[in-house]
Point group: C2
């Protein structure tokens, strides 16, 4: 007989795809009482999304796994476009190099591997495990409990599925090669299904917060009766080992599009010489309810692509994975209802043409994750959770807008090409312009996060090229302790703490040094005000000093005790002082971090960063009182904080 | 009742430490029928060696794991030395920056992690697993069978140990913290002992080749009656979370030595803020048989170091691992006897002062590994195995010589300091000179490999800064297929193949292009001559073209078919053409590879590289016939080669 269980958790994450795992990372990292469930019996091994934009890579760097992506994945730095020339012969028409934005370009890697890295990062910091083969059967929300942080307003009924129930028939198109032949060694343990509870177990779970990361068909969204608005079109896409003729050789390793009278393919180079092709089978203007996805075969697509690529030879003998899917351009009416949040495809779906889905999803999970974690721990005020909607929902709208515009231009171009006419100059210019206009948004360099308790837009412009609500522009700095350079994306690790960057300027100047020491004293008092009782001074806010003097001219004892002091129990923390100095030792730093940020090299300044590396506040070294007010808007007063 | 088994293997590796695993990597990578045994029941998790020199990191890059070392380990780029000033007060005396040799500096990381990465690299390419808890009981060698490549001249008796037998009492000093609390997540499965055979099983194993990597007390060496000559001294070393006073703060993250009247400590900064201290308890001139290692306690060492570091505060509250060990400066009379080879500590032991032990051992294993692998597969002539002795044994002698000289100077310095006298200028100069003189050797940049069938010293100097028998100087090149830069260490992956670098020069010149195409035709014929029947043309020798023209001015079809052609079954291999072009996209390449190598940018040349990235031969583009003769000295004639 099936068991029934009653239990509770602070946070429940529904769905262990990229957005759910990004949120789960924060629970693991901050030590939150949390659970993660997924209806499928195993993780993803093949297929699904694969494109990682710069900003996503920066975030992965901050959780310590970017180097794994670069090792296994395929980096891309330029895009090409092919179409017919005046004589109708397919030729390369445009090559666009991406704007250099160190440290990262675009990378493409199978979603299954990205999930692997996130699972490993979670395991490194906690015992939190994804409970697989578990579905939600009901979700009830008690609005009356919403304002009590200690209450559990959400009640869910969960059921543990059998292996059959948790293994949906392979998606149409998944190749018949047995799974184990191609999964990575470190994924193999995960091909076996295991369950936390006996099959059939029904659990009544009370939760303080729920994050629904359960995809385009989100069960969570349906439970909340949140409408999902938009329209539908049809595409097919598949991944194969591609065999292409010589003339196309180079471009098969760049992101590209290729269109002629027979249709269009989008090309995404992948790890291990794999190439992913996206082939639209129907465009928006042709959408028909009668389109029969199941009638599509691998052979029919092969013939279609052969025709599109003609006169170049195209064929493949191994197809790693393929599927046909219906693209909906849809957006949920909201991404938050009470203490239940939606992230990723549960909020927004769109065409693969803009290559942003995986990124928006992961960044959603990253954004809501740390906020829920800090609130669930009783450190931050519940009001900061409202910023999830104000920060991420407008981006979902922009994303759909971008997709709509881009798809229209793309279609226009396709139609011109399909008449074997050269693409009109206006179309090309419009496409280039929209790409340029949206590049910072699509790469994730600009986020447009609005003013809120987390983002003080009235900050002084001590860093003229930085903006509250936007990311810290990554620069490479040298550790004053050992001289080794590090990108700020890695050095400012995502560990759940807010950070104050004490831009100390040129500390060789006596006057400046005095300002820095006074500021240091102020910061010590500030941290005392916010550190929970019985925990370390830097447990919720960490201070890093970044000075502009040459590395060799400076010693650690030139810095105030907030960043350098001796502790009988802990010794010296040598990770807190950094130099914006050039270093040509191996991997370079250029010593121009202050310039990148627009900071006065003598006078420096103060920057407050949120746990997700976005800028919250800026000011002069003398503005510590104002900085304290910023944090007062975020942290719970210490008397109600739990003793740690 | 204990089972008895009879079996055979082509290659047996005894000992799964760093040298044994480096050798095992080649077996895995080349698909050799091999086994690896180790008498201990589990891998190493804590302690042992930790210093990785540049060259070792380059080799780890070529097997795809260097980025894991850099992610977890601690890089070091400068060294310091502390001693008493005129007033006897401890102060920093010398800071020496290492000579920049991109891509890698020195890194320090626990041996257990390095073994993890090697085990993972092995698992990625094969099912080869280390059989733990297995000891050799006897080894017989039948010299009469030595000249028959198909024969099994070595007969061993192996026994499977019980968990108790395979778990020696923890080394004196190992802390009592339970193992599982501190091992990494990906090591945890390996803390459980498992056996291939039942405990007590005795196996009679016949082997064609044996590689003994079983450490300073090598059982293999003893079975071969090879004398181990040298003397002994005593040291203690331990790893602890160090708590140091502020004044020493910076230097605790640099490799350093510190000496005063009370003694000496060597400091090696490590991952996760750990610091390793080496504390000599007795120096060579004081060696006594009566020294009681077991009398040393953690507390006694704590007091000793406190005294040495005085007036600076020193203490620790967590000691991750420590041990007392006797340093022998010893060398085996030979590293090869018949078809049995010794590698690593089985051949040479010395003081930790020079920080080379782990590196020499891993490079030994790397050197013998590919040679045995190619011979065991029937591809290479058995005579190449003789080069293991001629290449590695003189280095073992040099290593001991360096250790002897350095230790003497170190002692001289210590004695001066211990009399509270400033170190004599001559001593400091002598130390600096020997460091400079030996830096290339100790970092592994110079190897002095002698002339042999694998090293043609009579090569033409087409690359004026490269030398046959030495490594290829690493440079950063751009893939002509996708423009992404890669260090040659990674791009020339250690996959068991020899490589021909077709330095194509400036292919925009018509005359040069014609030379390149003619050379390409010659290389195609050459590869046909050596490729085993029914295997791919590039299965034993691979060709990479590296041209000097600007990346954007060149297309792949400007290159001959040996590096770019379309194959109906395989498509185009896009990994074979590289550009020595500048790229400021993210991680830079400077476009000065040809200059680093001393190659004419117009005319180029040919370089043959061994599977271990050492240069075997050099010549002009017209010297293909001479190059063929080089390979004739290495490969077995194709008629006796197995059909693949």
């Amino acid at each position: 007989m099936a068991e029934t269980i009653e239990s509770s958790t602070d946070v429940l994450i529904i769905g262990a795809g990229p957005s759910g795992l990004m949120a789960a990372y924060w629970m693991a990292r901050c030590g939150v009482n949390a659970r993660v469930i997924d209806k499928k019996g195993t993780k993803v091994f093949k297929g699904h999304a694969d494109g990682l934009r710069c900003r996503t890579l920066e975030l992965l760097d901050s959780i310590g796994v970017a180097q794994r992506v670069l090792q296994e994945g395929h980096e891309v730095f330029s895009m090409t476009s092919w179409g017919p020339d005046e004589n109708g012969k397919l030729c390369r028409q445009v090559t666009t190099d991406l704007e250099p934005n160190p440290p990262y370009a675009i990378a493409a890697l199978s979603q299954g591997r990205i999930e692997r890295f996130l699972l490993d990062a979670i395991a490194e910091h906690s015992n939190l495990e994804v409970e697989r083969g578990v579905i939600g059967e009901s979700l009830e929300y008690d609005k009356g409990l919403e304002s009590d942080p200690q209450a559990y307003p959400i009640t869910l009924r969960l059921r543990t599925l059998s292996e059959e129930e948790a293994s949906p028939a392979p998606a149409h198109g998944v190749s018949d090669r047995s799974l184990n032949h191609s999964v990575n060694v470190d994924d193999q343990m995960d091909t076996i299904q295991h369950r936390k509870h006996k099959v059939g177990t029904v659990e009544t779970l009370k939760a303080k917060y729920v994050i629904g990361c359960d995809g385009a068909h989100s069960w969570t969204r349906k439970q909340l009766n949140i409408p999902f608005e938009g329209s539908t079109t049809d595409h097919i896409w598949w991944v194969s080992k591609a065999l292409l003729s010589t003339e196309l050789g180079t471009d098969i390793r760049r992101i590209g599009s290729l269109t002629n009278a027979s249709g269009t393919v989008l090309i995404v180079p992948r790890e291990k010489n794999l190439v992913r092709f996206y082939v639209p089978l129907q465009e928006e203007h042709e959408v028909s309810q009668k389109f029969d996805r199941l009638a599509v075969t691998l052979e029919s697509v092969r013939q279609r692509v052969k025709k599109i690529m003609s006169p170049f030879h195209f064929d493949f003998n191994v197809c790693d994975w393929w599927t046909v899917y219906q693209v909906g351009r849809r957006i949920a009416q909201t991404n938050a209802k009470g203490r239940v949040y939606l992230a990723g495809d549960a909020v927004h779906t769109h065409s693969p043409k803009v290559g942003m889905g995986l990124n928006m999803s992961m960044q959603d999970g990253f954004n809501i994750g740390w906020k829920v974690a800090l609130v669930a721990k009783g450190l931050a005020k519940p009001s900061i959770l409202d910023t999830y909607k104000s920060e991420r929902y407008p981006l979902a709208e922009m994303l759909l807008d971008f997709d709509r515009q881009w798809s229209a231009l793309f279609l226009q171009q396709e139609q011109q090409k399909s008449h074997a006419a050269p693409v009109a100059q206006e179309t090309l210019i419009a496409m280039r312009d929209i790409l340029r206009k949206t590049e910072h948004f699509s790469q994730g360099h600009t986020s447009y996060y609005r003013a809120s308790s987390l983002v003080c837009k009235q900050s002084k412009a001590v860093a003229q090229h930085l903006t509250p609500g936007e990311k810290l522009v990554p620069v490479r700095l040298r550790s004053q302790a050992n001289g080794l350079p590090s990108w700020t994306t890695k050095m400012l690790e995502s560990d759940g703490r807010f950070r104050i960057l004490l831009l100390a300027g040129d500390v060789r100047s006596r006057e400046q040094a005095s300002r820095v020491w006074t500021c240091g004293d102020g910061l010590t008092r500030l941290l005392r005000q916010f550190a929970p009782a019985k925990s370390k001074l830097d447990s919720v806010i960490d201070v890093k000093a970044i000075h502009s003097a040459p590395f060799a001219d400076v010693e650690l004892d030139m810095f105030p005790s907030i960043v350098y002091h001796f502790d009988e129990n802990e010794g010296c923390d040598l990770t807190k002082v950094w130099s914006d100095s050039a270093c040509d030792w191996g991997q370079q730093s250029d010593g121009k971090g202050y310039e990148s940020w627009g900071v006065d090299r003598l006078r420096g300044g103060l920057i407050a960063m949120r746990p997700d590396q976005y800028i919250g506040w800026m000011g002069e070294l003398e503005d510590v009182a104002d900085l304290a007010r910023y944090f007062q808007g975020i942290f719970v007063k210490s008397e109600v904080r739990p003793m740690l």
